[in-house]
Amino acid sequence: MHSNTIATDTLSGTGAAPCSADPDLFFGGHTEREDGDMGGPTLEVMQRAARLSETARTACLLRCPLAQQRRCAKEALNQEIAYGVWAGVQLPGDLARKVPVLNAQREILRGIAEGKIDPRTHPSNAALLRAASDETVPAVAQLRPTRNPSSQALPTAATA
């Protein structure tokens, strides 16, 4: 099952969940899996994906209720998902040399799912939250605009 479908099915009825409003922001990257024979992401695409990842994580941390983040974390673990932003945690993909990072990120998800980690106070999110609080415009207002023909051309990519 594609992660977009999982997110939509799992989180339907939860109101204005950021990942439901703009699933590509959360799950659309990682072209090493999704681009078939196209050859993986360019450096430019990866840099853009890194920025989108930060936006998605920030939105998740600031807009998603903790209970919803726990559900997201459980879902990512249950489905053994390796891609996308879940509960504010960026999963790095399943390349072999990303396995240690994937395991570490899943450990954070496990802590969130079990209620042992509050994503808003976890050290891994400190820089993001500090940056968001420093912004003149609240980070929650910086989500990408609703899709239009030009934004559909926006490439999605892998993030580390």
Binding site: E32, R33, D35, D37, M38, G39, G40, P41, T42, L43, M46, A49, A50, P92, G93, D94, L95, A96, R97, K98, V99, P100, V101, N103, A104, Q105, S124, A158, T159, A160
Partner: protein
């Protein structure tokens, strides 16, 4: 072909050598096979390769058993806190850009075996697990249809690596610059260095064959990875040699 059938076939083909005749270092490929490769010798001029008879497999119980465990890799690389973080019996997915360099970038990658028909596969990923690992090793062994196919695949792989010389490969949110492939003096192991664009990490790819077994290794380190994949590849070959009769 089932493993049992292949093992029986291997037994039928076995050529036994007196113990004293077994080479200390397994000769993985003949110089003639590698002579046409567009690779540079790692140091000096390669000596002529003696025509030593090849040891023969007689029923490897498991490809997985040829691979090093976390303690062996840790001891070899001087990294005591390594763990096996993944293992399996299928080639790995994922691709890099440019796609033709995926096999130069990653070990045991399915993209690098499109020209052959893998019979059995085993791989392990060993690392000091964490969000910022210092060491990551991917070691794979792929049983191909024949020794001839394994050697042909080694040549083709080395040529593919040569085509990636100097290119920057991107994958998994990172970019790596690939060196030219090199072959050791014995013409048995081909290696390829990789350096992250920020210079913080290096990796070494290494490939070799032992009969119909293709050995495929990647070792990455925050320090100097040079020589690491070679050692692991040789150790896997030695394991294979120890399991042959």
């Amino acid at each position: 072909m089932s493993i049992t059938a292949r093992q029986n076939k291997a037994r039928a083909l076995v050529v036994r050598h007196p113990a004293h005749a077994r080479p200390t270092v397994v000769r993985l490929a003949t110089a003639s096979v590698l002579a046409g490769m567009a690779v540079a010798a790692s140091a000096g001029t390669a000596a002529a390769t003696p025509a030593a008879p090849l040891p023969t497999f007689t029923g490897t119980t498991s490809l997985q058993a040829l691979l090093l465990d976390d303690r062996e890799v840790g001891s070899m690389l001087g990294a005591p806190n390594l763990d096996e973080v993944r293992s399996g019996n299928k080639l790995l997915g994922g691709s890099a850009r440019p796609s033709q360099c995926t096999g130069a970038y990653a070990a045991a990658s399915a993209a690098a075996y499109a020209d052959v028909d893998p019979q059995e596969v085993a791989f392990k990923v060993i690392s000091d697990d964490g969000s910022r690992p210092n060491v990551i090793v991917t070691e794979g062994v792929v049983q191909l249809d024949s020794k001839r196919e394994a050697l042909a695949h080694m040549t083709a792989t080395a040529d593919a690596w040569a085509d990636c010389k100097g290119l920057t490969v991107t994958a998994g949110g990172e970019s790596w610059v690939l060196d030219a492939p090199r072959v050791n003096d014995a013409h048995t192991i081909v290696t390829l260095g990789q350096t992250s664009v920020d210079g913080s990490r290096t990796c070494e790819r290494a490939i070799a064959t032992y009969r119909d077994i293709f050995i495929d290794v990647l070792s990455c380190s925050t320090g100097r990875a040079e020589g690491q994949a070679v050692k692991i590849t040789q150790a896997i070959a030695d394991n294979a040699d120890a399991q042959s009769v």
